[in-house]
Symmetry: C2
Subunit: 204 residues, 2 copies
Amino acid sequence: MVELAETAPRQLRAHARRNRDRILAVARDAFANRNGDISLNEVARRAGVGTGTLFRHFPNRDALLEALMHDRTEALCTEAERLLGVPADDAGSALFEWLTDLVDHVAAYQGVSAVLLAEQDADSALHAACHAVDQAATSLLRRAQQTGAVRADLAPDELISLIGAISWVKEQAPDRDAHVRALLTVMIDGLRTSPPRTRSASAR
Amino acid sequence: MVELAETAPRQLRAHARRNRDRILAVARDAFANRNGDISLNEVARRAGVGTGTLFRHFPNRDALLEALMHDRTEALCTEAERLLGVPADDAGSALFEWLTDLVDHVAAYQGVSAVLLAEQDADSALHAACHAVDQAATSLLRRAQQTGAVRADLAPDELISLIGAISWVKEQAPDRDAHVRALLTVMIDGLRTSPPRTRSASAR
DNA sequence: ACCTGAACACCGTTCAAGT
DNA sequence: ACCTGAACACCGTTCAAGT
């Protein structure tokens, strides 16, 4: 009897998890950036669950996005960890390589770049994930700056904004890879530039 | 009697024009980027007109935005005309100065940077305005490239995307002037860089 | 413990009815 | 010729009712 009392909820949980997975599968396909946007109700409908079910699993769109992106976010963070161990001479290209991956990641789903820019009081899970990415970017940037590969007058949040901006462009035109790569090239060249032009310290 | 027949519609038109102006006044204030977003119905309510009235004057949000921005857009285009006459040595700084103004202009109202990026079949008036800006930017860019002030491997639509991207950041954080100026600095330094790094011609 | 689906407040947009 | 405001189809979100 004790086992039965355990079994029943376990089956329920299995059912619940199946619902969760079906929602994620539908959302992964429907939110993918080339496929245009879709309402959350429509996601629920396609997944064959009630609207309420979707909203209990994922209280808002951000939560759903975070779940969709979770694994790749983690992979990106561990990759950053690895790149921090690279020889000092490669600190610059390590940063640039990682930023290129980051742009792809952020641009994968609609609306993520906007979350990246908003340094909101991180209540949502997606904000937390963005914060982890921030940390990784900051470490890679600092190292690249210390080795002289990247201009010293660039703050971490400025780098994040630059990445968010380019990710947003990719979000708007997901099929124009060459275009986005060109923007990245310009930006990276701008990062390499040593700053002879003085920026007013008071403005910081 | 002939005069009366003319007078009556003229009064109507005056009334209509007053309505139009009240809508614009409300929208100008409510759509200004620090003031957050507002629904079109709410604009109509605040202007004291019916929803239908608003939608006949401005068939969609873009039309309303275009009307709001029209004068400044024109000013920007004539300014570009003037800057094209500047000595060749100043062609680079002329471009950079103008781009800085453009960012302020595009970021003034929510959603304009997205329109700038979308090279849609220009049905809306706002698209037409963006196209005029495109033309001006292209001319200034070409001249700056010919004088060697700006890297030659940059296409006009790539420049527009870069500007749109930075405008979008400003749109997201309208009160962070120093931040946005830093991004512009990086971008402009990237534009100045001559391209020793070869970009694959096949990708273009 | 989990799910359903009607319901709510809102959005942009349309259109019959008025003057 | 111009305006009004109810109406429509939609959105994200909630919640009473079910199993």
